[in-house]
C-alpha cells in the first residue's frame, strides 16, 4: 500500500509518449470530475467548463491514500483552479498539484487533450 502513491508521477506536456483515449467528453460532468482507469492507475479527470479547460490528476488523495479525488468539488481559490478532497476538504491545485491548505505531498498532474469530443490523457509510459 505504501507504494501506491509512488506509482503517480506528474507528466509534463513535452514528456507525453502515449495519448490514452479515455472517454467521450459527455461522460464527464460540467465543472466536475470523474475517474479514468489506465493500466493499474486511477486518474481523476476534471472538466472545468467555466474555464473551458480540462485537468487530470491522480485519483489518490495523498492524505489517507484513498481513491476519491475525482469525486471532489472543483473551483478556484484566489484564481488558482482547485479540487477539494471529499474526505477532509484538503485543497489541491489542478495546475501543479500543490496542497494549498496544508503540507501534504503534491498530487501528480497529467496533460489532457480533446479531439473530436474525445478526452485523451497524456502518459510518459
Amino acid at each position: 500500500m505504501i507504494t501506491v502513491a509512488k506509482k503517480y508521477k506528474s507528466v509534463k506536456p513535452d514528456e507525453v509518449k502515449v495519448w490514452f483515449k479515455a472517454a467521450s467528453v459527455n461522460d464527464f460532468p460540467k465543472d466536475g470530475g470523474a475517474c479514468v482507469k489506465y493500466k493499474d492507475l486511477q486518474i481523476a479527470v476534471f472538466n472545468f467548463a467555466r474555464l473551458n479547460t480540462w485537468y487530470a490528476t491522480q485519483n489518490l488523495s495523498p492524505e489517507k491514500e484513498e481513491m476519491v479525488l475525482s469525486r471532489g468539488m472543483i473551483g478556484d481559490h484566489k484564481g488558482v483552479p482547485i479540487v477539494a478532497c471529499p474526505l477532509h476538504k484538503k485543497l489541491f491545485s489542478l495546475v501543479d498539484g500543490t496542497n494549498l491548505n496544508g503540507d501534504l505531498d503534491p498530487i501528480a498532474t497529467y496533460p489532457v487533450k480533446i479531439e473530436q469530443e474525445i478526452v485523451y490523457i497524456g502518459f510518459a509510459d
Partner: protein, 838 residues
Amino acid sequence: MKKIIVVGNGMVGYKFCEKFVQQATDDTFKLTVFGEEPRPAYDRVHLSEYFENQDAKALEMAPAEWYVENGIHLVTNERVVDIHRDSKTITTSKDRTFTYDYLILATGSSPFVPPIKGVEKKGVFVYRTIEDLEGMLAYAADLKKTKPNAKAAVLGGGLLGLEAGKAVLDMDLEPHIVEFAPKLMPRQLDSRSSKVLQLKLESIGLNIHLSKATNQILGDDAIVGMEFGEDDVLDVDMLIVSAGIRPRDELAKTCDLEVGVRGGIVVNNKMQTSDENIYAIGEVALLNQMIYGLVAPGYDMADIAVKQVLGDATAEMPEEIDMSTKLKLIGVDVASFGEPFMPASKGHSIIYEDKTKFLYKRINVSLDRKTLLGGILVGDAADYNMLHQMYMNSMAIPEEPAQLILPTSDGAAAFGDVMDLPEDAQVCSCESVTKGQICGAIESGEAKDLADVVSCTKAGTGCGGCKPMVKDITEATLKSLGIEVKDTICEHFDYNRQDLYKIIQVKGYQTFNEVLDNHGNGGHGCELCKPVVASLMASIHADTANKEYAIQDSNDRFLANIQRNGTYSVVPRVPGGEITPDKLIALGEIAKKYDLYTKVTGGVRIDLFGATLNQLPLIWKDLIAHGFESGHAYGKSLRTVKTCVGSTWCRYGMDESVSFGIELENRYRGIRAPHKIKGGVSGCIRECAEARGKDFGLIAVEGGWNLYVGGNGGATPRHAELFAEQIDNETVIKYLDRYLMLYMRTAKPLQRTAAWQERLEGGLEYLKEVIIEDKLGIAKDLEEEMQTLVNKFECEWTQAVNDPEMMKRFNHFVNSKEEDDNIVFVPMRDQKMPEPWK
C-alpha cells in the same frame, strides 16, 4: 563570532530566539538553545487545550525546522547543570561543555509542591508539562476502567489551579478544588468577585472547598483521599497539585549569582544578573523584588535582553510593569487590570454585580473621577480590551463612569469607538503591537483582511485576548478606506447566505452559474459557495440533489455518506423509528446480499456500511422495491424524528408520540436547510425520546404538547428551549413550519438552530413575537413556502434509479465497469471494516 547560549526552551526562551532572529542584522552571533523537555517550546498558557485534542503539535511555538532555518542550534532533552563563570562555560546533563560570550537564563519555574505527608503517592500529579498531562491522562483512563465515577481534586484555587480544574473536567472525572485561602484566586480577585466566580463554577459542577489546609494524603500505595482535619476527609482518586510556582534558580546557586531571599535570580532593569554577561528572563528573573508570572512581561524581558546583547545599551524594562490579564477559566471570563484592589484613599470604586447571571464588574476611578485606575471583570470580560486601553492610555472617561460597566438597554457601548484610541495604544501586549501598526499595515496595502493583519503584525498570536479588538480595529480601518467588510460566504460572493437567499428567490435563478455570473466576483466558485447555493436552490425550489450534482457537497452528490476508505453507507428512512418485521427482514437480506456492515445509528435507524459507488444504485433498487425511501442521512436536511412509544403502548403515555413523530418526519423529509435538523417526540415528561436534545422537540403534557426549539447534541450540547405550551397538533405544525422556514431563510451556512437562535437579536422572545404573534407579518409567507416544499417532495433515490443518465455517475470509472481496486476490508466481530489508516 560570539556565542549566545539560551538555557531553557519555554515560551520566553523561544521568544528570545524569535526576537533575536528579527533584530540581528548580521552573523556576529551564534545562538544555541538548551531545553530539558523532549520537544521544542510550546504554549503553556493554553496547555489545557491538550486535553481536548491531545495534539502537542498544535501547541508548538514553532516547529523544530524553524530553529534550523534560522541558524539556531536547538538541543532538546538535555539540561544545563552547571555554569563556570570564570571560564565562561556551561556543562550539560550529558556531560558536555560549551563556551559562551552571553548566557541567557530562561529556566522558568517549577510547580511548588508543599511538604504534605503522602504527597509522593501514586495518583498525585503536578501540572506543568505535556509529559505531566500525558501521565494524568493515562492514570485517569486506568482509573475509569474500574471506577467510572472517579473523583479528582486540584490542590490550589489560584489561576493555575483553575486551569487544572478544567483538565479534570475534560478527563470526565468528578472535579474538586481545594484552596487554603478563604476565596478563589486570592491574588487577583476581591472577595465579592471571587464569590461570583465560585458560584458560577459550582453551577457547572465543580465542588469547591475553601479554607482547607491539607494535613496528609491518604492511601497505601495510591491516593484515596485528602485529610484536612481529624474528621474532615475528602475521598479522591487523583490529585493535581497546583499550589504556586518556584523559580528554577538552582543554576544561579551553582555559580554564586545573586538570588532573592525567596528565590529568583536578581536582575536590573536591563535584565542583567549580578554577572553582566549573564541575563535572566521570564519566571526565573527577580525584577523589582518581584517574579512576574505572566507571559506578556516575560516577552518584554526577552526583547530587552535581545536588544542589550545586540548592543542597545539604552533598552530597559519600564518602571511600572502592567500585570493586567484576561483569561477564560473553565469557560468563565476573568480579567483584572491596573490596580484591582485600590485603597479608598486613592479613588472610588464602582461595582456592578448580578449573581443570577454570575456577573461582577468593578472599576476604580481617581478621586476627581477623570481617570480609570483599574478594575475586575468576572463572567463577562468582553469590555476588557477597551477598559484596559483606557487605563493604559489615561484616556478620558465618561462623566458618569458607571456607564462603563452598567448594561445598556440598546447594547451600545459607552466607550465610543476603537478608532478613538491613540496611535501608540498597545493593543497586543504579548507581541507589543500598537493600534498604529495595525492601521499602518492596512493603509500601506500590506494587509487586506484580518488574517493578513495577524500574519504581518503578529497581533493576537500570543494569549489571543486582544483578538476581538484587533478585529474591530481592522474592520474600522478597512471601512475608513472605503473597503466594505461583510460576513460573506467565501471569496466568490460579496454576500452572506441570507442575501443570496433573497437574490435567488427574487430573481428566480435555477443554476449555480446564473447566480455566479450575475452576482459573483468573477471567479469560478469553490467548495464553500457551491454547497451553499445548492442548499438554497433546494430550500427555495425544492430541487433534489440530482438536478445539479456537480455543485453538491461530496455526500449529496452520491446521495450517500462517504466513509473512511471511500466507500459509502446507506440509511433508508424509518419514520419515527417504526418498522414492520418484514421491512426489518428486508434490510437484513439486502445487507447480506451486498455484504454490508450493519449498525443501528445514533438516530435509531439502520445504517448499512461498505457499499462501493457501483453498488449504491443496486442496493437502492432493492430497498425501493421493499418500500423504502432515502433517509437523507447524507444531507443538511431533516434526519430523524425520534419517538418514544407513547400512549399507544406505554402505561404512562399522555399522547401518541409515534403517530405524531411519523407525521412530522414525513412532513419535513427532504427539505434542505443550513445544517442538519433532528426532531424528537416524547409521550410524557419522562422524555424517553430525548426530544429536548433536538432542533425541535415535543413533550406531551396535560392539554397538549409543549414545544421546545434549538437543541442539539454534538460538540456543544444544548437543551432546546421551551417555545410554546399545551398546544394541539395543528398549532405545533404551524409554529414548526414558520420556525424552520425562518431558520432556512436567515441562518449562516452550517449553523445549527441552537447557534442561530442564540445569535438572533432579541433572542427567544423576539422569535416568539415573530412566530407566535406574527410581529413582522410574514407568518403566512413562511407557512406557504414550507407547504410548497412539502408538496413538491420527491425521493431523490427513486428519481435517480429510474433515470439511466443519472445512474451514470455511480460508476467508479467512466471507462470501465470495474470497481475501485484500492479498497481493502478486514474482519471485525463477525462483520467487516475498512483497513485501518496508516
